[in-house]
Assembly symmetry: C2
Amino acid sequence: MSNKPQLHTIISPRLLDIYDVSNSIVVIIDVFRATSTIATALYNGAAKVIPVDAVDKCITIGNATPNSITAGERDGKVIEGLQYGNSPAEYPRSFVEGKTLVLTTTNGTKLLHMALQKGASNIVTGSFPNLDAVCNYLIKQNKNVFLGCSAWKDRFNLEDTLFAGAVINRVKQHFTIHCDASLMAEEMYLQHRGDMKAFIRKTTHWHRLAQYGLEKDLEYCVTENVANILPLYKEGSLVIGYNE
Amino acid sequence: MSNKPQLHTIISPRLLDIYDVSNSIVVIIDVFRATSTIATALYNGAAKVIPVDAVDKCITIGNATPNSITAGERDGKVIEGLQYGNSPAEYPRSFVEGKTLVLTTTNGTKLLHMALQKGASNIVTGSFPNLDAVCNYLIKQNKNVFLGCSAWKDRFNLEDTLFAGAVINRVKQHFTIHCDASLMAEEMYLQHRGDMKAFIRKTTHWHRLAQYGLEKDLEYCVTENVANILPLYKEGSLVIGYNE
């Protein structure tokens, strides 16, 4: 038997507690759009991103944190009481540099806090804009890995699965993988890596968000390595990790 | 908007209660091997199949039912106290005709009872041996459909997903489908319908069962329309349904 670490893909937060994630790395994946926005804000110089799971907490932490901005959306609009939305395009360097982004989202933030509670030892976030940074980190750590898809209200979604497949395609020789979800994810990625921007137009999430004029946003979210840093969870915040 | 009924694919029993299955058809899918065995036993003349969710219940019902046989496996062996296993090859016409099969399985039976509790109005079982019978039924009923994958201990599995994809490929023009899991399932089926017997060797379930010498069984389970009847759940039993 191989003594490589194991890798699994978890296609809905509801399936997280089937697995023992203690002492393991969990990659939080929420391609449309939380983990794309997190990578972009940090890449553009944000001091840190504080992911919170409720709007009132977002406001409280925002008020208590100097040079911070609060952000979160529901149905394509900024949530009442918050200042900004969940679009990576809202966070260019000229705006976000040096600031702390306090962010609340429905699916990704929930999964992150679930993984924390279940005892994951390392939590990072990933999306296509920081694909290689995530892969390099996973290869160096030599630990078991769970690719956690945030899904949409616990329903399977394609965009998170495609990102899991992209990671698997790049790291698989370093891991033992006995997991049908991982096999499926890599196949779907190989099938669509050449037509990603066309294929995502078939997904349910595209249809949900495109009505708000977010097409450019969604295309950005599946563009590889345009914000190629590693968001690493440390003491309540996501900061750039340097593969230490 | 179209007024066609909706179709969704549920890739793990844990995701069942996200959906409202009341007044809908649920197709129970457990390709390796419960729903392949059910189709085969009924096709070969079994009077009915009684699916039960516990071994002691299996024995009790078996004792109380004339001309019945009890069946169930764990780890490739007949469960102690029961008479037969969960292989379609055990149920040729010469043996099973006229008999009642009382069957307990881990994944498929559990999902069937969950769907009952959640108020599904029509429950049928499907696998490749009865693919067309299932599709014909779904097209005629004009009701919402949920393709329920039994999975393996709640983990996503490929063989059930491939069957869901085969169904979708045949019935999709009769339904409204906004469901990423269905889109994925059909793509995986289209990708592998030409090499199904080779592809299933990559699945985790193959590796689990092949060690017990069940390769021929598993190949049979992905063979289309070799036991092409419709198992329909009625008053506690699965019997042949005639698209009434």
